[in-house]
Amino acid sequence: MTDSHPLPSAPIAAPIEKVSIIVSKGSLEGIYPALIMANGARNEGIDANLFFTFFGMDAVHKGHHDHIKVAAVGNPGLHMPTIAGVLPGASGLVTKYMEKQIEKLDYPGIPEFIEMIHDTGAGLYACLASVEMFGMEREDLIDEIDDIITVGEFYEMAAGGQIIFT
């Protein structure tokens, strides 16, 4: 190799002005970081949209959003033997522990966090395909949901910003 192909110089970093965050998982570790990112964006003056799809819909489902659990199986981050994760109550125990930590730090639980994010002016959207697949109605979803939208509408909304998939 010669140095006839120098690396292109780094572009000047433009500040992020909008993020659209897709929440596709229904576990605590799938949902909570996305909420931190959306809330953090608004607090920095960045526009933010949250788009809930597939099992991420649990975060905005009236019957489920208060019972979000940590995945105990297939989660090497827990540093325990995989076999322990399948024991009855393992997920519940790990979830209890995480909830205690969240409470100790005075961080909000998922329902309160989503209400907070809604109040920051962020957009909250549910995925039409998921609503249909899971046989849900608008009434099954929390009031803070602004709309049920198609993937096309999501892309229109996300135009000009960053898309983050969790």
């Binding site: 931190i36 809330n39 953090g40 608004r42 607090n43 920095e44 003056g45 005075d106 961080y107 909000p108 966090f113 907070m116 109040d119 920051t120 002016g121």
Partner: protein, 106 residues
């Protein structure tokens, strides 16, 4: 170190514009800082509730409160905070209150 002049007094700020030394701040500077960073003026009594809280928490705990903390420590709701300081309430309130940028993720 960069400096800025508010209400006729020159103060030390960091690259983002946050005060390096909160003791250099005076109440008279607040409206000028607000204007410079796009915070709606004149500053209302409700904005002053937040500004006073930012300073008292900073001098008490060493860092200004986050949006969630502000709404927990005062009767100013998240919605109202975003109306008072639209582009990032904790950040802008800290700016107007002459304290460093609050640390905290939530």
């Amino acid at each position: 170190m960069p400096t800025k002049t508010f209400a006729g007094t020159t103060v030390d700020v960091n690259d983002e514009g946050f005060f390096e030394d909160p003791t250099q701040w005076t109440k008279e500077m607040a409206p000028e800082i607000a204007e410079e960073y796009g915070v709606p003026t004149p500053l209302t009594d409700r904005a002053w509730v937040v500004i006073d809280l930012m300073r008292s928490e900073y001098f008490d705990k060493g860092t200004g409160p986050t949006v969630r903390k502000i709404s927990k420590l005062s009767d100013v709701t998240t919605k109202e905070l975003f109306a008072l300081f639209p582009k990032g309430p904790a950040k802008l309130a800290a700016m107007v209150a002459g304290i460093p940028k609050p640390k905290g993720c939530i």
